[in-house]
Amino acid sequence: MRRNGPLALVFHTFFVIVMVAPILVVCLVAFTPEGFLSLPTNGFSLRWFRAIANYPEFIHAFWVSLGLGALSSFVALLFAVPAALAIARYRFRGRDALAALFLSPLMIPHVVLGIAFLRFFTSAGLGGSFAALIIAHVIIVFPFALRLTLAAATGMDRTIEIAAVSLGAGGWTLFRRVTLPLILPGVISGWALAFIQSFDDLTMTVFLAAPGTETLPVRMFLYIQDNIDPLVTSVSACVIAVTMTALILLDRFYGLDRVLAGKSGDTGR
């Protein structure tokens, strides 16, 4: 393997700085002691983090996002795990079409999904409800839950199951005591990736959320539309911290390159 030349390293440094700069600047401005947008040149202050406490709508939106992400990712797995087992193990007519259908939310622009769900749930009398948000998020996180579960189910050693069957295990016992523990790392990583996708979604959710069911990205977006002040940077810094934590856990647990490479493979249509 040949080394990178000095020119390549200069390019690389520039590239990394540009990639990190916007995220870094948000986190830095969040610590400003001033009352306006500025980099914290006169020392760091937590005043804008304390200020979040005076805006209950941000805190409420945070809990909505957290509950929505956790619940919709869990519900998506309830549907995705059996579907993944079927797709991984059986060769049946319509298998490819089903897999394509289940991954299709990756291909449909979220703005189109938002409009479709808004129309659908308003006609069904569920407009702006938390239930509607859950169902919509189950659909958009489903491909991520399915992909990682599918990878685990495909790579699993089937002889252990055969051994369990020969020892008399069947049906539900086989699934609960043998299959599920074996695919669990994939299932948990699928949940984590699905959670991040749900937690970050703005484009679709902005159509569905009503006052009371606004998620954190929606609340932040509506706030930014009116004005940008240090408060929204401190909220963003908290969001970045939550995502980074999930990211590091995901990396330790499963390997980030595996998670993301799989993801790109599918968006790659």
Binding site: M1, R2, R3, A8, F11, H12, F15, V18, M19, V20, P22, I23, V25, V29, L37, L78, F79, P82, A83, A86, Y90, R95, L98, F102, S104, M107, P109, H110, V111, A116, F117, R119, F120, S123, I139, F142, E161, I162, V165, L174, T179, I196, L202, T203, F207, P217, M220, F221, Q225, V232, T233, S236, M244, L247, L256, D257, A261, S264, G265, R269
Partner: protein, 291 residues
Amino acid sequence: MSAVAEEGSARAPWALTAPALMLFVGVLLIPLAMTVMLSFHDWGQYKGIEPVFILKNWHEIATDPYYAEMFWRTFRIAILTTLLTALLGAPEAYILNRMDGRWKSFFLLVILGPLLISVVARTLGWALLFGGNNGLVNKLLMSLGVMRSPIPFMFTETGMVVALAHVMMPFMVLSVWAALQRLDPQIENAAMSLGAGPGTTIRRIIMPQIMPGVLSGAIIVFSLSASAFATPAIIGGRRLKVAATLAYDEFLNTLNWPLGAAVATLLLVALVLIVVGSNALIERRYAEVFR
């Protein structure tokens, strides 16, 4: 869940996928069909939505130059974003691939990590960096002598392209990086030993092999940029509309849902045609790579 018995149970896979299938038909396919139908309904300021079959919205989009300009702007921004990510992302993936193991995984995390960080937070970062004529980006560019007078980034297409390229960059790096993994490093050494310089090696040996990766990355970046919402809405402001922000306006401000549905349907159809078409082209051109 008779998972072990593969043959003999033709019903098992259908029983396992039935719940997900019903979910997708019920709350994905039906709502999408309803949206297409909605685009043919009538709407009036006082009468609201009238469920009749009428081509009014489609006629308006086809004849009013405002929509042609808006769709052209949407696709222009998407094309420029795609070019920018390809020009910067492909070399970076190549450099990344030649690094030592630990540095490689560290920088991969730094570059791919933003993919999972909230788009609102990332775009807010650009809004802070651009911030009027005294923004950090302008100060930096002027102190480096790249230009004399500040150029506006906020509420311009330039700003949208820069911010979108940042948001989409991880997809391009990932795609090229995946193509590089399939490349045999010995080929590069063989080219060197046969007397090819570094420039020739990159142009004649590396480029042709990573091209499928660049192109499939380009398709992802293009389709995501053309339907992007958060970045154009925050950087573009209320005046500079793209397809997604216009549909949002029709739905939540003007309340002309049928017209918004027509814009969304057109965006969906255009993107599906472009993506499927270019995928077919790439697969035909690079058939040997995909075999």
